[in-house]
Subunit: 157 residues, 2 copies
DNA sequence: GCTCTGGGTTCAGATTCCTGAAGTCAGTTC
DNA sequence: GAACTGACTTCAGGAATCTGAACCCAGAGC
């Protein structure tokens, strides 16, 4: 990846407090938060399942589930099975689902570069093949790391 | 995204301590670590630049840069400008570059769902268009969130 | 009306993490 | 050889975070 004009002169520009990555990390940038999002993508919806499957204390789960809900990534939705009282479940919102490329990207990276389990897979429902993430430009070209430039748009907010 | 057989019975399977996402989050899952990786992708290489551009204390930067180096995402490389003593710079390794889809994914998500700055862009050097991440299966189909299934492979590790 | 269960909340304590300030150290310039 | 610079390291203190244990509450079943 290359960094070219005009960002070479970074002294004139600071992203501190404004960078979208920083904002995103503020929401899903902690281990518990990201693992809860992983679980939500795996299909988990109920509080106790989040607690046991992520392996965190109930208080931690409650704190982060609330934060993720307030941030608009999860939604509390009441549901009721027959003969059982109504409950709330945590379901991914569109914004939460939109995080899937990051979740799958982390997963794929972890499989390639750590000694994590490799018996779980994300697959395409249609054809059954494994999925991965690709970096692509809006013209549809696959973009390699070296072909990415970081640039500052003229009309700055 | 759907979770179908045989993972519906999650009680029999636990990813705690083995999940690739968990492993990945252990390395780049803190705010400082991910922001240092962001900076490395932006092209930053020198210690003091990391400190000022990320906006963290030198001690924090040193700790996380060392951890990222030990984890194989960054590499310390000596370099020498004429008339100046040799120094080390932090450069992305192939494993670090391989994290680019995650960095760009977080960036794109942040632009769409937070009020972060939008004056910085990742673009394709070849054609100049903005880049984004796509979820795709190995057959090349674009995969929507609803078309992803999570499955457990037979032959478990 | 007692118990059970799901889905939490509250709390104190321990741990981890971050920060700012100061110190170190090697090579370079003057 | 004194001062300077880049690149850290060390340290003390404070803030944030996690944990386990205990508690709470509503509705269902008996």
């Amino acid at each position: 990846m290359q960094l070219r004009t005009p960002l070479d002169d970074r002294s004139r520009w600071s992203s501190i407090g404004r960078c979208p990555i920083e904002k995103a990390m503020g929401l899903v940038g902690s281990r518990p938060a990201m693992l809860l999002m992983r679980e939500a993508h795996y299909g988990t919806r109920r509080f106790d399942d989040f607690v046991t499957r992520v392996g965190i204390a109930p208080a931690t789960a409650a704190t982060h589930l609330r934060a993720l809900t307030e941030a608009g990534l999860l939604e509390r939705r009441p549901y009721q099975e027959e003969g059982v009282r109504a409950r709330d479940e945590y379901v991914l919102t569109p914004a939460g689902e939109d995080l899937m490329p990051v979740v799958i990207g982390l997963f794929a990276w972890g499989v390639r570069h750590t000694d994590g389990a490799d018996d779980l897979q994300f697959a395409h429902a249609g054809c059954g093949r494994v999925v991965d993430v690709r970096v692509e430009c809006t013209a549809g070209h696959e973009v390699a790391p070296d072909d990415v430039v970081v640039r500052l748009r003229r009309r700055a907010r």
